[in-house]
């Protein structure tokens, strides 16, 4: 639509017309603020927690140290693009090995603005406890815990239910 709109405006005599072709999806996917009735809806990006990171050239020992009790370390490029992950057995490798040699390449990620109820449903069915959240560019936002999302959705449901009860009463 926006290319056609840009052309239309130019045909109507506007000179400085620009097409933000990546659009609203790009904006919300990057976690930028918005307006409107759904602007405050819960999203994976808002629940994502900061997570330990390392580079391809780091050692497994470094990744293990950074992962700590959290149990996971995300591998990123110098500008934060997600490349891989170390967790569980991959963190138990010889500490001298490089991260690049043992990492789980191309982990599953979700967008900042993914529809949370559907995502939680998929995570529950797959038995997944956490998931990497990224911006459209692939830049790491953080790690979202399924338990955080479940708690938030339960709270939203309770508030909605209380509101309905209040209206009915």
């Amino acid at each position: 639509m926006s290319p056609r709109a840009a052309c239309r405006l130019e045909s109507l005599g506007f000179i400085a017309v620009y097409d933000y072709a990546a659009g609203k999806t790009d904006w919300t996917g990057s976690g930028l603020p918005t307006g409107g009735t759904q602007a405050d809806m819960p999203r994976p990006g808002r629940l994502a927690r900061e997570t330990p990171t390392c580079r391809l050239t780091d050692t497994v020992a470094t990744a293990r140290e950074r992962a700590g009790d959290g149990g996971a370390c995300i591998v990123t490029s110098d500008n934060g693009i997600v490349l891989g992950r170390l967790r569980g057995k991959t963190l138990e490798h010889d500490g001298a090995l490089s991260v690049a040699d043992v990492m789980e390449a191309g982990p599953t990620t979700v967008r900042y603005d993914e529809f949370l109820p559907d995502l939680v449903d998929r995570m529950q069915k797959a038995g997944v406890g956490s998931i990497v959240v990224t911006k459209p560019s692939g830049e790491l936002v953080g790690l979202m815990q399924r338990s955080d999302a479940e708690e938030l959705l339960a709270e939203v449901h309770r508030e909605h239910h209380d509101h309905d009860d209040h209206d009915a009463g």
Binding site: M1, S2, P3, R4, A5, A6, C7, R8, L9, E10, S11, L12, G13, F14, I15, A16, V17, Y18, D19, Y20, A21, A22, G23, K24, T25, D26, W27, T28, S30, L32, P33, T34, G35, G36, T37, Q38, A39
Partner: protein, 82 residues
């Protein structure tokens, strides 16, 4: 003989100037650009970029766009590339 002056690229009616997020923010911050969402009203009401006005594509008539300032850049957007 001097070469004829070339018309700036973004001044031709058949050339779209596609910009990225960074350029959107620059135009808004530094050039007082106008932001226009061209999706239907309901979608705009649900969520839109801060400061954006709504002019659905079907409603881009001469009368409707008269509210835009021709002296300022105009940025149009919809969902995404598709």
């Amino acid at each position: 003989m001097a070469e004829p002056e070339r018309e700036p690229r973004n001044r031709k009616a058949d050339v779209k100037v596609v910009i990225d997020q960074q350029e959107v923010r620059r135009l808004l911050d530094q050039e007082n650009a106008q932001l226009v969402e061209v999706l239907p009203h309901q979608e705009y009401e649900q969520e839109h970029l801060p400061g954006a006005i709504n002019m659905p594509l079907k409603e881009l008539t001469p009368d409707a766009v008269a509210t835009l300032d021709r002296a300022r850049p105009v940025i149009v957007y919809c969902h995404d590339f598709l």
